[in-house]
């Protein structure tokens, strides 16, 4: 190399980024640029004239190097020429570096020169290695996080599923696999979502069916917000009922599109059941306490369990002979009750003491039939029609719990699940037992109460006069409408008795309860009758009763209206009682003045008011059972209606007024009256009427004087 070209070549070589090494046909170094110095660590001076093989070719490759050179020189075949190659090269310090190089052969005169352009690719290789290492590490890390994901999600009690846009399962943790009733993830993955949905009946809290499109994950796919959804699932095959809270969230892809949805299925069966039970039992207690009516209580018991606990509920009582007495049946669908009625006809009077109801009555222990097999139905059936009926009911699962009071079994509750398809379990037995315990108490209470209230009622009514005496110049009529059966209110009372040529008329209301109230009524009447012999003033009479009542140890309160009748004059005093009404010439007015309730207040005083009763007028004394009467719309009968009724009376005669009054009341309250209702009506005969009356009596052969004497006698002995 010389001349201009040589200088240029040297200039280039000195500055080339690549290492440039040339060698001759002997394989000896003829050029070695500064980059080569830097790459291999040999100075130019040290390298020139030495064999390339010894300088930079690792020992294991030298034979191949020499053979390649020999073959080229001999045949012209150069496998490595003009190609980018990579190999390991030796450095002065004995280390190896990766290099990338090309070799070109140049023939000048009759000899070959070889040029190698070499780059140290340590960094790149190192970078590649690092990347590979990182990728490996990443894989390891990913596998780790996958394991951690599995470890966390897989061990969660809550079921977690991830579904793609077609609702196919991409992932389900073991809890979800088990929850959906599958043995393995693979099994679940290979089953279509619709098939899975069909295995359950799914409803919301209110029993409304939940469809696929209501599920939160499906709503999210539609781009809607999805609130957590509480659902009740009943497995169609196993009948197992579960409550689940579904919470779903979207998984977004890089473009923010919903790629999949993740759903957490929280099993809230236990808390939900506990909550339902609490609410149910509270309701049960309230319903059972709401009526003291025996029959109604039993109907309430049956209604209670449906549909909360089961689809059917029957209440049976044990009679004294140990026989059953069916008292109530309730069904989710009232239309199907006729089925139950028909079934009942097949039931034997004598129960088998070793099964079902008979066994429960005998042992006082609950029975649970989680599954009712067909064979049991066939065995139980008396004939074909019976079996048909039993099948129509669709018995799925059932339980019988005793209603016990202490050791005594009053009866039993039979609960059957049919339509809903759910199976009853031990926790249903426990719930039913709690209802049964409350029912037993309610039944016993109403039983005792109906006995007690009928005693009280009888007593109360026995205190009313059988027949009112006849008062000369007056016509008298009364009405007494006892409060409906089961009412705890005390009694209204009235009485009429003669005092010389005067007459006492009283009416009152004892606001106590049961037998106590009856006793109080007797006391008040007795006190009035006795005291009236020496206390002519009605006001003094009331004061005497007030004192008597206050002497009693327990609070004893009553209202009373006391009238003393002498010819056409009436003197009256009122103790906490509605003022009597006076009907004359089509006008209704109140008589007397209000005075305090008897037995109630420490300082109390009553005043007499005396008025003259016009011939043909009518006086109506009544208890608040009339004005307080309620209709279906919860309106009160009130004073206005009472006034109207009196004005509308077809005549002022006592009997007609009473008739009109009871008619208006019956029309108004359309049913039994809640409170005792009483009225006593005095009609002062006009002269013409009086003559007619005595004529009528004489015709009947019952002279007035005899009758009066008899009445007097009857009331005072």
């Amino acid at each position: 190399m010389g001349g201009m070209a040589s200088i240029q070549a040297e200039f280039i070589l000195d500055r080339a980024y690549s290492a440039v090494v040339s060698m001759d046909e002997e394989g000896l170094v003829t050029a070695w640029n500064p980059s080569a110095e830097a790459t291999f660590g040999f100075k130019r001076e040290a390298a020139l004239g030495r064999p390339v093989a010894e300088l930079i070719v690792p020992e294991r490759l030298r034979a191949a190097h020499r053979e390649g050179l020999r073959r080229f020189l001999a045949t012209g075949e150069g496998r490595v020429l003009d190609r980018r190659l990579e190999m390991q090269a030796l450095r002065a310090d004995g280390t190896e570096i990766p290099i990338e190089f090309t070799i070109s052969a140049l023939r000048t005169a009759d000899t070959w020169s070889f040029f190698a352009f070499i780059r140290d690719v340590s960094e790149r290789v190192e970078a590649d290695r690092e990347r590979e290492r990182l990728v490996e590490e990443l894989h390891v890390a990913l596998r780790g996080s996958e394991r951690r994901f599995e470890a966390i999600v897989g061990s969660l009690g809550d079921a977690i599923t991830i579904r793609d846009r077609e609702h196919r399962f991409l992932y389900a943790n073991p809890a979800a696999v088990a929850h959906l009733g599958f043995g393995s993830w693979e099994e679940l993955r290979d089953t279509s979502p619709d098939t899975i949905m069909q295995e359950f009946t799914v409803s919301d809290e209110h029993g409304q069916e939940i469809r696929m499109e209501d599920i939160p994950s499906v709503r999210i796919l539609r781009g809607e917000e999805a609130e957590p959804l509480l659902i009740r699932t009943v497995n169609r095959v196993s009948g197992v009922q579960r409550w689940n809270l579904l919470k779903a969230a979207p998984l977004l892809d890089e473009d923010g599109q919903v790629e999949a949805t993740i759903t957490i299925i929280e099993d809230v069966t236990e808390p939900k059941r506990a909550e339902q039970r609490g609410a149910f039992l509270a309701q049960a207690s309230a319903v059972l306490a709401s009526s003291l009516d025996y029959e109604q209580t039993l109907r309430n018991v049956a209604q209670l369990a449906v549909p909360e606990v089961a689809d059917w509920c029957a209440v049976d009582l044990v009679d004294d002979d140990g026989d059953r007495n069916s008292v109530a049946v309730a069904h989710v669908d009232p239309a199907r009750l006729s089925l139950a009625e028909e079934l009942r006809a097949y039931e034997p009077d004598r129960l088998d003491p070793d099964q079902g109801l008979g066994l429960v009555f005998r042992t006082g222990e609950s029975l649970l039939y989680p599954e009712i097999p067909e064979s049991l139905l066939v065995d139980a059936a008396v004939d074909e029609r019976h079996l048909e009926l039993i099948r129509a009911v669709g018995l799925r699962s059932g339980l019988v719990v005793p209603m016990k009071l202490g050791k005594r079994t009053l009866g039993a509750l039979t609960l059957v699940s049919s339509e809903s398809g759910r199976t009853l379990d031990q926790s249903d037995v426990e719930l039913a037992e709690q209802v049964a315990a409350r029912a037993a108490v309610a039944i016993e209470n109403s039983r005792l109460y109906s006995q007690r209230s009928s005693i009280a009622r009888t007593l109360q009514q026995s205190l009313l006069p059988d027949r009112l005496p006849e008062i000369p110049g007056y016509e008298i009529a009364s009405v007494y409408l006892p409060a409906m059966e089961g009412s705890l209110v005390g009694g209204d009372f009235y009485d009429v008795w003669p005092l010389g040529d005067e007459w006492m008329v009283i009416i009152g209301d004892v606001t106590g309860k049961g037998v106590e109230a009856a006793a109080l009524t007797a006391l008040v009447r007795h006190t009035m009758r006795t005291a009236s012999e020496f206390l002519p003033s009605p006001a003094d009479l009331l004061a005497q009763v007030d004192r008597t009542l206050k002497h009693r140890p327990a609070l004893s309160v009553c209202t009373a209206l006391c009238l003393r009748l002498r010819d056409d004059q009436v003197t009256l005093a009122v103790g906490g009682h509605p003022l009597p009404l006076y009907l004359t010439g089509g006008q209704v007015t109140k008589l007397g003045e209000h005075g305090p309730l008897l037995g109630a207040f420490t300082e109390a005083a009553w005043h007499d008011v005396t008025v003259e009763l016009e011939p043909g007028s009518t006086l109506v004394a009544y208890t608040d059972g009339i004005t307080d009467a309620v209709d279906k719309g919860h309106g009160r009968f009130g004073l206005e209606r009472l006034y109207d009724a009196l004005r509308d009376a077809r005549g002022p005669q006592a009997a007609k007024v009473v008739e009109c009054l009871t008619g208006a009341l019956a029309e108004f309250q359309s049913g039994a009256n809640a409170d005792d209702t009483a009225a006593i009506v005095l009609h002062r005969l006009a002269r013409a009427e009086a003559r007619e009356n005595s004529a009528a009596r004489r015709e009947n052969g019952r002279p007035t004087d005899d009758l009066l004497a008899g009445a007097r006698h009857g009331q005072t002995d």
């Binding site: 906490g576 305090p596 109630a600 207040f601 039994a672």
Partner: protein, 111 residues
């Protein structure tokens, strides 16, 4: 027959005692409920106000309950205060029976 009425008892507890505000009709079916509410109060409650200002009806059962409360309060030494009903339909029975002046009634504050 339990007749459903618009009946409500609201409790308000202050340092001074307990106030029960009764709304609706105090009658056969609801008086026992008020009785139970008062019966259920803690034994250390020293002052009970029964606010009847929003009462729309009262029968003899309701009246008897108030009298019973008054007796109990005196025996058990706690303070009973009653707020008069605004409605004449409820107030009438109190006036007619003397309960209005005999029981510890106070006027309802102006609404």
């Amino acid at each position: 027959m339990v007749r459903p009425t618009e009946f409500k008892i609201a409790h308000r507890v202050t340092d001074a005692g307990v106030t029960l505000k009764v709304t609706g009709e105090l009658d056969l079916s609801t008086a026992p409920v008020l009785g139970e509410s008062i019966g259920a109060l803690r034994r250390d409650v020293k002052a009970v106000t029964v606010d009847l200002s929003e009462l729309t009806f009262m029968d003899s059962t309701g009246l008897r309950l108030l009298i019973e409360l008054d007796h109990r309060a005196k025996q058990e030494e706690w303070e009973l205060a009653l707020i008069r009903p605004r409605y004449e339909t409820a107030a009438a029975v109190l006036k007619a029976t003397g309960a209005d002046s005999a029981l510890p009634f106070e006027d309802a504050p102006e609404p």
